[in-house]
Symmetry: none
Subunit: 527 residues, 2 copies
Amino acid sequence: MARISIYDSTLRDGAQAQGISYSVEDKLKIVERLDALGIRYIEAGNPGSNPKDLDFFARAGALELKHARLIAFGATRKVGIAVEKDANVQSLLQAGTAAIAIFGKSWDYQVAEILRTTPAENLAMIGDTIRHLKQHGKEVVFDAEHFFDGYKANADYALQTLAAAIDAGADSIVLCDTNGGSFPEEIFDITRKVCARFPNAVVGIHCHNDSEMAVANSIRAVQAGATQVQGTINGLGERCGNANLCSIIPNLQLKLGHECIPADAMRHLTSTARAISEIANVVHNEKAPYVGGHAFAHKGGMHIDAVVKNPVSYEHVDPEAVGNSRRVLMSEVAGRSTLLARINAVDPTLSKDSPETRRIMDKLKELEHEGYQFEAAESSFELVVRKMLGRYTPFFELVEFKVIVSEPTVNEVNSSVIIKVRVGDQEVLTVAEGDGPVNALDRAARKALERLYPALGEIRLTDYKVRVLDSDKASAAKVRVLIESTDGRESWTTIGVSTDIINASWQALVDAMEYKLMRDQEAKRVA
Amino acid sequence: MARISIYDSTLRDGAQAQGISYSVEDKLKIVERLDALGIRYIEAGNPGSNPKDLDFFARAGALELKHARLIAFGATRKVGIAVEKDANVQSLLQAGTAAIAIFGKSWDYQVAEILRTTPAENLAMIGDTIRHLKQHGKEVVFDAEHFFDGYKANADYALQTLAAAIDAGADSIVLCDTNGGSFPEEIFDITRKVCARFPNAVVGIHCHNDSEMAVANSIRAVQAGATQVQGTINGLGERCGNANLCSIIPNLQLKLGHECIPADAMRHLTSTARAISEIANVVHNEKAPYVGGHAFAHKGGMHIDAVVKNPVSYEHVDPEAVGNSRRVLMSEVAGRSTLLARINAVDPTLSKDSPETRRIMDKLKELEHEGYQFEAAESSFELVVRKMLGRYTPFFELVEFKVIVSEPTVNEVNSSVIIKVRVGDQEVLTVAEGDGPVNALDRAARKALERLYPALGEIRLTDYKVRVLDSDKASAAKVRVLIESTDGRESWTTIGVSTDIINASWQALVDAMEYKLMRDQEAKRVA
């Protein structure tokens, strides 16, 4: 079976999804996750339309990636402009990636109506741009926008656009179902014809989910000869989303035998999908095939008996294969081996059968049931493990606080916090103001503690995210707060869960401070 | 093109989804919605496993349905029991429906392992049950459970189970991909063989979405000769859900020319899908093809220019055809034409050169600079436009509020809000508690206003999101709050931005209430 190159566009086409807006930090974290999963290509930004992507590419270039090549994405040169003078093409080169994807029109109707130019000029735009990039030593991916609609309207012209790209040296040509309206058999037939017409070309497929068939369409294209598959994690993307790599990868690899990612990376699929939902700050789709929390959940009593008798009765694949787990009861913890690895980071002597391990698993189950999710908050998880193992002494204790927020605001300071903390037998009472209750709380806590722990002055909060867990309970729903902190050397993420955003924020702030103090203490011990 | 009988199981297989639990009233409302949409069969309950379904069937029998036949669903008789004595079969007859669906095993492995009986007894169970129901004058649908897995394991036996059903008088035989693991081409090939083997049978298809291909699989089965398609509205169902009729119906009818529902009912598809999400009390999937709020939403500036020039550029069908609508989103990359489209929704007389348009553009730029982002908060944007055009009178005014949050928490209620609002010349002072400051604030505001505006009681907050805008400013960074609300008919999203999460939440809450009141006022004006 052909090896398939997986081409991820979570950071580029995925960013077109409603409500998605990545910070540079978010993007770097996602790149690391995708690389660890063994993704071949990561289309990470469009520096021509978004100048801040250049900053990202500068920083991403410093990452040591094991599997992935970063790709900068942009359009062909504009109508009637020399490619050397095209600002967009220049910015693609400035991104400094080894590979570049450019998209061009392949539908004659769009050339006339949208570009308002001639078919010949469009072919020249494709050819010129690719030749220019090849002269700069780049690997070039050509995305043939609207290819299937174009082919249906004027097959000859659509094929000419591919020929122009291949003649100019494109390393792969990608057939795009841009509007997402095509059917599996159309995709199969047209892809097969393209592969027959260009037998030496690397052919890719790029589908959208507007007819809810993007996964099937991608699979059919592979069956017709495509060897590069574009998509996004969790199917993030404009409108109904892009083809969902979390379904395509296991469909191709586990069921059809095409290698897409390293075999031992497959069991990280679920945790990667979840982590990316968290980083993108979107609700993870629990109904998602393979990686959703319900994907292997069994409700009907009859089903459960059958599943217990033999899982093949009601499961199409082994959930462990994709790092997910069967849920026959209300709560079930995922990825025991992952967990054990983290527990061993604190105490290497523990095995999966140690009573301590079991106690931690039970505690974790309980916390997850309450809404904690440690996927993106490993520092808080480490604190939980240390506490459970008796390897932790808190640095301070809260006696009480009172937060007061008033509206209308006077001088932008509308929040005051009175706080009392205890360190050893010493109690400190203090007050601080802020422009918002979390800010006031953060200031008050540090003001109370900084004299005793000057290192807290080094902490800077770099991100603060809030999610509602139980949305049908309106504003009384539980919220999950994730706080990312840095001291300039290291960064760490902590979590809090509560019906009260102040309380949840407080938990995460406390963990952030405790984690910092613990790390410093450890560093001293080692030194 | 063959007419396709749509067979809905939202009330039966859909009820297996996690978190779904219908009341009898819910079920009756859903039946009426499905009938109005022109669905042919409504599988509405399993009286053998759920006795309260008999109550439902008694009441449903009184409904005057125009298009639909109700179906009671259950198993074949049990192993070794005479069909007349089988309590489950009796309860199916008691349901009093004209049509009954029974499921039986078609995988020899399951006959041995799960039923623990002989292949011959399983065939007798199928035949006896169907003959008995036919003797009572029922239309009988036979669901061949695990048919595709069974066929792959032992084609001959799987076909024997269908023959047993047909010989006993089954009106249709339905091929089930119970585990959802099959691929489109397997479904096509096997369905085609079944149709060839039983040329006079009505063949149906029943798919699950565990490989994210249930829609494509259903379409492929129709292309192979199936004329009955089972599924659920919004793809509700166990694990990853059943085949989604909201995608299958327009795919078959608008794209392949198969009549599934009356042509004039198609434009009720979106409102039916939304209503059923509300009745089932699940968050409507806004990314859903055809019926989601994002299905025809356009974000990138380039795309939007093209969509305005000609919708076929980036839309695979006309959104109006399924009762949905085009949405043009605001974003950093959105062009001026986007904005104008939104402004024209409020005042169609304004052009891109009108001074009002310019003022709104400037205001928008200023607000975006402050961190507002209207792409996902169109309702707040509409309020801004109305205010700028002098087409808006606020329904109420905040005089002041004070929020007090204390830790440690007593009885889970740690927040109190004192609020004073003004409506006309009337001032209302009130206080409310909550488990969190936003919850307390929401309660206090409604308590103060609900006597004057009872419609506010209909609002339910369905999502609450917070993002930090300027992460390097730590907890004093600005936060952006997005609140999604619904009144059961419509849903809308509003925004607030502030350094203070309470203040930002307050802005979004106010917009949510104002928007609701404004829409109600407009509806009255039109009526």
